[in-house]
Amino acid sequence: MSFFDSLRQKAPFLDKLADSFAPTLTRDQKFRLKYKLPASENILEDTNAEVSFATSNGDGNKHSDMVSNKGRKTAYVYSGRLFLTPHFLVFRDAFDHSSCILILNISTIKRVERSPSESYEFALLVTLYTGAKVLIQFIGIRYRSEQFCSQLKSNLKENIPNAKNLPAFLETSYSEFLIAKNILGKKDIAVPRAGLGQHFKYPGNHTMAKEKAKLRLWFDYFKENGRNLAVVQTHMFRKLVRIGIPNRMRGEIWELCSGAMYMRYANAGEYEKILNDNTGKTSQAIDEIEKDLKRSLPEYSAYQTEEGIQRLRNVLTAYSWKNPDVGYCQAMNIVVAGFLIFMSEEQAFWCLCNLCDIYVPGYYSKTMYGTLLDQKVFESFVEDRMPVLWEYIVQHDIQLSVVSLPWFLSLFFTSMPLEYAVRIMDIFFMNGSITLFQVALAVLKINADDILQADDDGMFIAIIKHYFQTLGQSAHPDSSDIKYRQITRFQELLVTAFKEFSVITEEMAMQVRHKYEKGIFQNIETFMKRTQLRHMPRTFNLSSENLSNIYDMFYQSIETYKISMGTGSSNMGFEVFIQFLSKFCDSCRPCGKDSDPAFRKQKRNFLQRLFDNWDSAHIGELTLNDVVTGLDKLLTVDLLQAINYFFSLYDADDDGELHREEVLQLSEGLLLLTEPWKSGRYVDLLTKKHIEDDIAESIIKESGEEIITMNQIELPTGVTIDEEKYKAEQAERYLKAASNFLQRSFEYAKAIDLAEEINLIDLSDDEDEDEEKHTAKLKRMESIKANAALDPTHPKVIDLPTFRMIILADETYELFFSNTLRSSIHVDERININNKNKVFRSMFDGILADGKRVAEQVRRRVDSVATRNSITSAESTPTAAAGSATTKEEKYDDLDDFTSDHQSEHEELLQNSWFEIDDANENNANTMQERPFEPLSKNSTDKNSNLIEFEA
């Protein structure tokens, strides 16, 4: 207890860590980070309290002394704040937040009792597994204190299963072993399984005496302040760490400071389980690990033996399974090799977990963004703190990172002799990653004079290399003062790092990181994109600009994948695939019909077919290369290839023949793909041509012969065109194409029973049929199809040439494969993800937005019409491309009227307006692009919703 009195020495430079993180962290996150608690530990309760401690070791009467004889002042009382999380009681003093930090896993609590107290209203006496007692005197209103206690009570109850793991856990603790051996006098107790150093010696030339003296200090500390899962950290604790942890204790203290111990306790058995579950499995990470096993601290004797190699292999592979986002990164092998000298496999595993998650996030990730970022931060610190040196480095084009990057990435393990590197690690685990910056700055500072003489990278590297190799030598060999002479370069380094550069704080690092983060991420993304595009499969129909757009849309769709951080899978699942296609394929955009379950099912069926076809590795996921290869096939400019590809989508067994069932599915797919044109959301070239013809005709009709002599034809100032008419015509054309297709398919297959064919196609012409009847009919169809398929006498296939012939026989479908489909897949446009209107952007709008082009087209029509008119009669009416039977004369009345007045008479028409032309269009091309396009009126959609019902 006198201990606490003696420990109030100042060590301000070690208290810089913590409570100074980026403001984006929540209170719980900050709390967990500060005390290195696992992710499950949220603050449930907190209160002001006074805490005092009594040890059990030695004479056992402390309890009554402390509680009842408070006048004797046997215990030092700390006042501060007490926190309760699901598995921990944490107390920190109010004085400097570091004089007394108690971190207590509640599994170590044996008993909690209310303590009679004269001066305080409410006090708890907590007895630990060691017999040590903690007296907690609550400050504050009674009600809150009661609440705290009842929460503690319920936590303790829930924790009973965990508490059972305690004895086994304590057997792995060296501190428990020390106590048991020296206090309880157990001489035969087994040394806990620890690091390779146990058998292969620890690095460096430590005199036994020094090691023993240090162990003794820790022994005293543990006796007074507790250990492992229930420890009070005082300034003395940190001082003991700073003077260098004795080798035998090192593993446990690293584990404790890093919070890995809490992870190991909370996840008992998980390490073994990961190894067992993945025995015999291979992965890229495993291959990479194997390459490096023999290349990890090869100078340490254990790593020339199978035992050492096997431990290293186990920890690295276990981690690669635990965190596949990181997998394995070179340098981890060296770091873990360092850990394993002092730690058991399980300890090292959890230490590695916390290293990657808490200490240096992003260092070992697939993109190494953390490493790149911290190099930038380091450079910024050098520039800020040592401007002369920085200027010299820049002037001489010296790559600072060639020396500094390995420092950070391998935590100095590859740079310094092992015995010194582990000393840096002692402080690193206690103080956090800022330690790396402080040491790195100190190295440059100490060698600044020499570096300022260096001409190039080679000399710079040689200076640093030489420095690290002579860390054990005197820092002042020429001093007359022997004490001064005894100071080693390493000691000098520690002092420079942790005194002079204590001004470099975690908070500063966070701020600088924040500053450069965006730029680094941007660079990584650019680099990744460039690399991936370079290694794209060869494409025939996609330009490099197309590929770039596809790349962007692909990764924008996979929201869980963070390119710059390298986390998440870069593959695309089916649901994301649907989203992805809906961004730029007109046929896959969300539409009104999506609310129809049957339609939605068809859509999914088709997309699933496409997805499976593209999934080259048959893993149920698409890579970017799969998507590119697939789109390349889909976008072929060759008509026959396009037809072939569509055929092959349905020819699952690849026998060049489609069976009856497959033909039906194919026709469903065709229906689905052509839906946007059938429902009038887009126009195809035939309709476009038709419209242009009509415009031309009407202009002729309006202007008569005069126009022919004009060189320049201006578009009329206002045109309204009967959108419904064209929609209806186009819809009819598509329906007809579809029904012709089915008919011809069965006809040319010469396979179909005529009665059945009629049945299939002529099931009903009832337009207002309800859903139920429809389903019943579908079922009936299913059974008919099934029967037909079962009938062995039934010739049932169409082959590719037949299929081609059928497609080519229909103008609409031929156009669909030669142009319509291809031009409806917009890989050439950059997709603005925020533009909600984009899905309805009509190709039709596009035509009109480009007023000049329209004018030219119209002029061409006019010319041709005029020529025709001059040959034949002026009254001749043009024939519609789709051969619609609607009376054209009536419609032309609309077309003829170019005055804007007329528009007001057609309000309804305007609202639905398929298109309108006025002068503004030329200037507002972009606005036009984004104008949502209203779907066809409900009536006609319903009417045409199912082709099967349509009678040819």
Binding site: K291, A331, S401, L409, D455
Partner: protein, 209 residues
């Protein structure tokens, strides 16, 4: 003796554990280490050789091979005049990676960079190991892309020096003469070291000529 020295910035690229660092170690120190620690980030070494009575100083940037370090590579091949793209003749995957590196260099590095394709570890074949990348494949790639081609063993030293000599011969030495007259203080892509000192590690920056 001509005191002018041509500096050649040379970068080594290739998959992990194909022997990049070992090739450098053999060239620079005529040494070999069986289990060499992987290169973290990059390493830098220099070596001087005399080619056609002319001294050439190689400034060698040896890079980390693991895929995820690839984003660091541009930092090191920036301004490089020569590159060794190394693969392991017993590992087909490393040859694919070599192709990628060649492609990247042609797109991103200096336009007139001289690239040598190096199939390493041919000693393994003499010890009964199986060759997985035919010599012809390497030759073919080299011919297609206009690369120098060598097969080497860093372990036995076979052919290693020829790689560097081959590169040295291809670098136009004429430039060096021009640079000889250039002011040394100027920051230049192709650094010229006027010191006749035998290695680049001395802290001597005075010009004595």
């Amino acid at each position: 003796m001509n005191t002018s020295v041509t500096s050649i910035k040379l970068v080594l690229l290739g998959e992990a554990a194909v022997g990049k660092s070992s090739i450098v170690l053999r060239f620079v120190s005529n040494d070999f280490a069986e289990n060499k620690e992987p290169t973290i980030g990059a390493a830098f070494l220099t070596q001087r050789v005399t080619i056609n009575e002319h001294t050439v100083k190689f400034e060698i940037w040896d890079t980390a091979g693991q895929e995820r370090f690839a984003s660091l590579a541009p930092m090191y091949y920036r301004n490089a005049q020569a590159a060794l793209v190394v693969y392991d003749v017993t590992k087909p995957q490393s040859f694919i990676k070599a192709r990628h590196w060649v492609k990247e260099l042609h797109e991103q590095a200096s336009k007139d960079i001289i690239i040598a394709l190096v199939g390493n570890k041919i000693d393994v074949l003499q010890d009964g190991g199986e060759r997985k990348v035919a010599k012809e494949e390497g030759e073919k790639l080299a011919e297609e892309k206009g690369l120098l081609f060598f097969e080497t063993s860093a372990k036995t030293g076979e052919n290693v020096n020829n790689v560097f000599l081959g590169i040295g011969e291809k670098i136009p030495l004429k430039k060096a003469e021009e640079q000889n007259n250039a002011n040394e203080g100027e920051s230049n892509n192709q650094r010229v070291d006027l010191n006749a000192a035998n290695n680049g590690t001395s802290a001597n920056s005075a010009c004595s000529c």
